[in-house]
Structure formats: structure tokens, C-alpha cells
């Protein structure tokens, strides 16, 4: 059975796509441009702009000289490839083998597909009309070879369906450009008066090879089908999803657990093969009465450990109300990341923060108590005690700042400094005694003051003079005086922490 190919040509791929995204641009004069060697080059021009003589490859400055009110929109490198890939994935509804044909086409392997649409004519019409309806101008061609389909899509008459085995006769009327040749070869052929493929297709092959190189022969053979051409089909990314339909509705917790366990096992097996781990997962239960129950989990590091993920879900299984029963379970992993393969150790040493056990423990804690309960502290470049640490939630985050050890810091720091009553000699001696929580402490030993300025570029405020004091019972405190002495203010002294 002969093979059939469809080539789809998008003459205005980029502008059609842009008009689809921004309908306001319809009938406007605009161009897409990319910087190249320090100037902006037009990569695509709208129909209205083309009508005024602006073409692809022109400098934007020249185009502006033609039309003063030209809109210039920034293009992105490789954007057409991305659009074609998306269109190719969409086209998989027509055939299992679809490929992007850069820079402005698609190639579909239509072998054995057309009869499902009731014939090649209807098949092509459906493709073209659907693409036209979503806003793309297209021309499509169908033939036994990719080369012939490509040529009739661009240079043939519409509808361009070449019957099986007829491509050699079509070749005769095609211009050299329809053979997908390099511009240089095309130019030379035309210069020699060979304006139709028919005038050189019959020439001895040795002559053609000597004059125009192997490429011309290869293209001719690809057109007629003497040489096989392969395309690289698009492989759509399969979503990480597992389904488990049940014959009988499930109503018990054990049943749900079994279903969850099975789904996790198959999903994790796939993740493990692809060296991926999931960061977020959804477990959906479709009930008989049409309701959907959903459980969500998140992990701190990519994981494909069945037991761990099961335990995370297990904490909230009780929240599922099966009512009349659950008939379908779906497990999805919307966020998936690469797993960093860890070097395995010979013994189970007490590892640091990289230990997977710790990451899994934290996932469990967070899934029960809510996000934000687990954190570590890293040093921050501030002297102000409350700001000298910054909480981080990730286990891997590192900082270049160092812990300051030059000055004594209390092991217990009150969240807010508490006001105390103090008797202290002026101007800057430590207190003689102070009253905290209705108890008078007599200061026996003291160190200080250590002045810490409030960082004025961040926040207004007075400086603090800190003292380390020890009372007669041996308890050590961190006290400070806020600002300078002023006559009328009370509570200028505070307690801020306890030393070990």
C-alpha cells in the first residue's frame, strides 16, 4: 500500500498567530521584528503591510520609511517552532504521525487515515476548514511523497490532491523552487533557462550531479519516491496521571487505601523509570452521585517513594466522604521535577540536611500542621537582633553571610522587648537593680554597653544600649536602654533575653 502525506503550509503563520492572540491587530499595519547585527529586521509582515510593499528580511528602518505609522512588535527567537509544535500536537487528531516542518509548515503522515473521514477530499477539507476557522490561512497538499505534497501545497492548484502514483507527472510543471533546493541552485537553474522541473528531470544523472551537486538528485528522487524520506514525529508529553475504575462502588477506608496504593505504585514506577519525582499530587475520587472528592499533597523535594507518598495521603484519607460509593479514582501529578540521584552510602549514617528521611519527615509534618510551620534560620546581614536571622523553609538554601560570634547573644530572646523598671546611675552605667514581672533583681555583675543602632535606611528608631547583667541568684539577662535619657519619658529600659 502506498503511503500518503499531507503538507500544510501557513503563508502567514506568525501574523495569523498574533492576530489570534490579539484580535485588535486585525487589518492593522504591523510587522514582527528581531534584532540582527545591531539593526531590527522584519521577520513577518501583516497582509496590510505586505500590500504596501513591506517584505520579510527588510530592515525596520526601511519599512518605517514606507509607512510612518508602522507598528513594530518584538518577535521571539524560535517562536514559530513553538507554534508549529503546538499545531502539530493538535493535528494528532487527524493522524498519529505529525511533524513540524520548519519554518512554516506541518507534515502529516496520512497513510490509512483518510477513509475514516470518508475519502481524501473530505479529509483534506476538514483539516483546512478547521484551521481556517481558528484563524490560520493555510494551503494543503496531499501526495505519495513528502516532496510532492510539499510542492503542491505551495505551488499547485487547490485542492491539491495528487492521486497515488501520479507525482512524476506533477513534477513536470513544478518550478525549481518546489524541489526544496538551496536558493543558489534554484538561481543557477533559472539562469540556464530551466524554469520547469520537466526540462531537467530527464537529463542524465551524471550531468546533473556534476553541474548542481548531489542535492538536486536527492530532491528529485524524494519527489518521485525513489528515495525514502523520514520525518521526526512529534511526541506529545503524556500527563502523569493514573486511573482506576471500580466495578463496584467503594465505600470503605480500606478500599480507598488499596486504590491509592495501586495508583501510587504504577505512577511511581513510571516516575522512577524517567528519573523524576513529584512535587504535587492530586487524588480525585469520583462518586456515584456525581460528586468529586479531592486530596492534595505537596512534597519539599521531588519524590517517587510509594510509602512516603502514601503516608502523606493517609493523613487526610479520613476527610473523604464516599457517601454512596466511589466508582473512579484518579491520581495526578501536576508538578514533576528531576530527581537528583544521590550517591548511596554503605551504612546508614546520620546524614545532614540532605538526608531523604529528614525531607520526608518534614513533608509529613507540614501536611498535618500546615505550610510554614517548619523552617530553619540563616544569618542575615543585620546587627539589629530581631533581624539578624532570616527564616527559610527550604532545606537546601544556603547563604554567604556568616554567623556573628564576636558579641554575646542570649540563648532565649523575647519576641518583643518587655519594659522594666530600673535604677541605673547616669550617664551610661549598667543598672543597679531592676524590676521584672514584679520581682526585684539586684545586679551583681554586668558587661556593657553594646550599642546597636537601628538601621535608619530601613526603619526610623532610636538606638539601643545593651547590657549583660547577672543577678544575685546567678540568672543572666540581656537588658537595654532605648535611646538617650530624656527627662519626661518613662520605660526607657527593656529586657530582651536570657543568657544560658
Amino acid at each position: 500500500m502506498s503511503r500518503r502525506f499531507i503538507s500544510i503550509w501557513f503563508p502567514h503563520l506568525m501574523t495569523d498567530w498574533l492576530i489570534r492572540c490579539r484580535p485588535a491587530l486585525r487589518d492593522q499595519v504591523f510587522v514582527l521584528a528581531l534584532p540582527d547585527h545591531g539593526r531590527m529586521i522584519v521577520t513577518a509582515a501583516s497582509m496590510a503591510a505586505q500590500a504596501q510593499g513591506i517584505t520579510k528580511g527588510m530592515a525596520v528602518a526601511d519599512a518605517r520609511a514606507i509607512i510612518g505609522s508602522l507598528q513594530v512588535i518584538d518577535d521571539k527567537q524560535g517562536q514559530s517552532g513553538r507554534i508549529l509544535n503546538a499545531l502539530g500536537e493538535w493535528a494528532i487528531r487527524f493522524t498519529p504521525v505529525a511533524a513540524a516542518d520548519l519554518p512554516d509548515g506541518l507534515i502529516l503522515d496520512a497513510t490509512g487515515c483518510a477513509h475514516l473521514w470518508g475519502g481524501e477530499q473530505l479529509y483534506m477539507e476538514d483539516i483546512v476548514s478547521r484551521l481556517t476557522r481558528i484563524g490560520y490561512q493555510v494551503r494543503a497538499g496531499m501526495a505519495d511523497t513528502i516532496g510532492a505534497a510539499w510542492a503542491v501545497a505551495r505551488f499547485g492548484s487547490i485542492p491539491a490532491i495528487v492521486p497515488a502514483g501520479e507525482q512524476s507527472s506533477v513534477l513536470m510543471e513544478m518550478p525549481p523552487a518546489a524541489l526544496r533546493l538551496e536558493p543558489g541552485i534554484c538561481e543557477r537553474l533559472i539562469k540556464l533557462g530551466l524554469c520547469q522541473a520537466g526540462s531537467f528531470a530527464g537529463m542524465p544523472r551524471a550531468v546533473l550531479r556534476r553541474r548542481f551537486g548531489q542535492e538536486l538528485l536527492m530532491r528529485l528522487d524524494q519527489f518521485t519516491g525513489l528515495e525514502n524520506e523520514v520525518i521526526q514525529p512529534l511526541l506529545p508529553v503524556e500527563p502523569y496521571q493514573e486511573r482506576l475504575p471500580c466495578l463496584e462502588p467503594i465505600v470503605t477506608r480500606t478500599g480507598i487505601e488499596i486504590a491509592l496504593g495501586r495508583l501510587l505504585e504504577t505512577l511511581c514506577q513510571r516516575l522512577c523509570q524517567e528519573e523524576k519525582g513529584l512535587r504535587r499530587a492530586q487524588f480525585k475520587c469520583y462518586k456515584v452521585d456525581g460528586g468529586v472528592e479531592q486530596l492534595d499533597i505537596g512534597t519539599g523535594h521531588p519524590s517517587h517513594n510509594v510509602n512516603h507518598l502514601f503516608r502523606l495521603f493517609e493523613l487526610s484519607i479520613a476527610a473523604i466522604k464516599p457517601d454512596l460509593g466511589i466508582e473512579l479514582f484518579i491520581l495526578e501529578a501536576p508538578v514533576v521535577e528531576d530527581v537528583r540521584p544521590l550517591q548511596e552510602t554503605f551504612w546508614n549514617a546520620a546524614g545532614g540536611l540532605e538526608d531523604v528521611n529528614i525531607a520526608e519527615l518534614i513533608d509529613r509534618l507540614e501536611s498535618k500542621t500546615g505550610k510554614g510551620t517548619v523552617h530553619r534560620y540563616l544569618p542575615a546581614e543585620h546587627h539589629w537582633p530581631e533581624w539578624s536571622v532570616k527564616p527559610v523553609s527550604s532545606l537546601n538554601e544556603k547563604t554567604t553571610a556568616l554567623w556573628k560570634t564576636g558579641r554575646p547573644r542570649p540563648i532565649q530572646l523575647l519576641p518583643e522587648p518587655e519594659p522594666i523598671e530600673v535604677a541605673a546611675p547616669i550617664p551610661d552605667y549598667p543598672p543597679m537593680h531592676f524590676r521584672y514581672k514584679n520581682k526585684v533583681h539586684k545586679v551583681k555583675k554586668a558587661d556593657g554597653p553594646e550599642r546597636i543602632e537601628s538601621e535608619w535606611w530601613l526603619r526610623e528608631g532610636q538606638h539601643r544600649d545593651y547590657y549583660v547583667v547577672e543577678d544575685e541568684a546567678g540568672s543572666r539577662y540581656w537588658l537595654f536602654r532605648l535611646g538617650h535619657y530624656t527627662g519626661h519619658k518613662s520605660y526607657t529600659w527593656f529586657i530582651h533575653g536570657f543568657f544560658a
Partner: protein, 243 residues
């Protein structure tokens, strides 16, 4: 004969300890640097892989206890391990831990809202083998709850520390040791002015298969030191006051 009998009794005692889960002192056991306090422990080793309980009521005592625990963590975390600190009303200030030789970034803090969650979180953490220690600040702990924690550590051999704040009614727990740490007035070196090294009165109120006792120790340049240890004699330098 009595010498033989004593040897037999000592051997039997060791067997009993082994059955109770206290390992023999060997090369892998850690030396906490606790000096002669070690004699109070079974097998003369600081019991790791068990739960220690610290009782205290006042904020100053909590600070002293945190200091003592930091001293112990210094040794436990030396091999690069991480530890978890679980609390509902934590006031621990991480930069101060650096003075006890601990990397504060290797401590994971779990700040919970409900007292009930702490015991659950502690049990989960104690089951995790990768941790060097688990510290939990609780108001009180029932015998049943302590037994659950004990079962968790027996599997994982992680050392747990429980700080009990409401120590008015001390009930029985399964913890291997019960400590009370209170601050003592420091003595600056060589009559210098100011505040000296942190010094505590360490009371070992209860120790399973050991001898309870009371000691005065201080944290001196990265290790524990007994208060009555011979201080290096520093000749007081006469400073003539100028001006």
C-alpha cells in the same frame, strides 16, 4: 571467694543492662565531655538513643537548660547531623547557639500552635533515623505519651530531649533521665570584671540504673568544665590608673 562473687554480680548486672537496652561502652559511643558526671550513668556512658527529660519552671531556668542541652548537642551534631526543635512558644535565639559550637542552620524548627501536635510531631521525628537529636518543649507529658515516645526511640536510636515547663506536678514518665538545670553565679577568670562563663547547677534527679547526683559545671571554651576544677592561674596584672 568474695572477689569472685563480686565479679559474677558485676557480670550479671551488665547482662541486665544489655537486656534493658543500655549498650556497652565501646568505640562508637559518644563522650559527652561530662567528666565525672559520666560515673552516674549506667555502663558509665551517657545514654544516647533514649529520652532525657528536663524540668524547669522559670524563664531563667529554661535559658540555663537550653544552654546545657546546646552543650550536649555540640557533641551529638559533631558528625554533621541535623536536629529538630519542636515547640509552641519558642524563644530560642539561633545565633547564640554558635557560641556552643553548633551550626544553627542545621537545626530545623517546628513551631506549632497546639500543644497536642507537639507530642505527635515529636513521635514522628523520633522515628526518623537521620536525625542527631529531637528537642520538644511541652507543658506536661503523661505517662502514656512518654511511653509512645520511648517506643519510637527504641526503634530509631535517636536521642530525645523533653523540656517540661509545668513541672509543679511531676508525674512518672518512662524517660531514662530527669534533669534540672538552674543558673549559678558565674566567676570571671582571674578576678576580671563583668560576667563570666555560663555556670549551672546540674541536678540529675532520676536516672534509670544509675546514681542521681548534683554537680556545678560551666561552659568554658567549647567544653563542659567543673566549677571546682583548677583554674589556670592568671597572675593579676597591676594596672596603674592613668588620668
Amino acid at each position: 571467694m568474695p572477689a569472685e562473687r563480686a565479679a559474677i554480680i558485676a557480670g550479671l548486672q551488665k547482662d541486665i543492662l544489655l537486656l534493658q537496652g543500655f549498650k556497652q561502652a565501646n568505640s562508637t559511643s559518644v563522650d559527652m565531655g561530662l567528666g565525672r558526671i559520666t560515673a552516674a550513668f549506667p555502663n558509665e556512658t551517657f545514654p544516647t538513643g533514649v529520652i532525657h527529660e528536663f524540668v524547669n519552671t522559670e524563664a531563667e531556668h529554661v535559658a540555663a537548660t537550653a544552654g546545657f542541652i546546646s552543650g550536649l548537642l555540640n557533641t551529638l551534631m559533631k558528625s554533621g547531623g541535623a536536629c529538630i526543635w519542636i515547640s509552641t512558644c519558642r524563644t530560642l535565639f539561633p545565633p547564640a547557639l554558635k557560641a556552643f559550637g553548633i551550626a544553627p542552620e542545621r537545626i530545623i524548627f517546628v513551631d506549632l500552635e497546639r500543644e497536642k501536635d507537639i507530642l505527635w510531631a515529636m513521635e514522628e521525628a523520633l522515628k526518623c533515623e537521620g536525625l542527631a537529636a529531637v528537642i520538644g518543649e511541652v507543658k506536661e507529658i503523661s505517662f502514656t505519651a512518654s511511653r509512645r515516645l520511648q517506643l519510637a526511640v527504641e526503634q530509631s536510636r535517636v536521642t530525645g530531649f523533653i523540656l517540661r515547663r509545668k513541672a509543679a506536678a511531676l508525674n512518672t514518665t518512662t524517660c531514662v533521665a530527669r534533669w534540672r538545670i538552674t543558673p549559678l553565679a558565674s566567676e570571671p577568670e582571674g578576678g576580671m570584671p563583668g560576667v563570666g562563663f555560663p555556670r549551672w547547677n546540674v541536678e540529675l534527679l532520676k536516672i534509670r540504673n544509675g546514681k542521681p547526683g548534683e554537680w556545678q559545671i560551666e561552659w568554658f571554651s567549647g567544653r563542659f568544665r567543673f566549677a571546682d576544677e583548677q583554674l589556670p592561674i592568671v597572675q593579676p596584672v597591676l594596672i596603674r590608673k592613668i588620668g
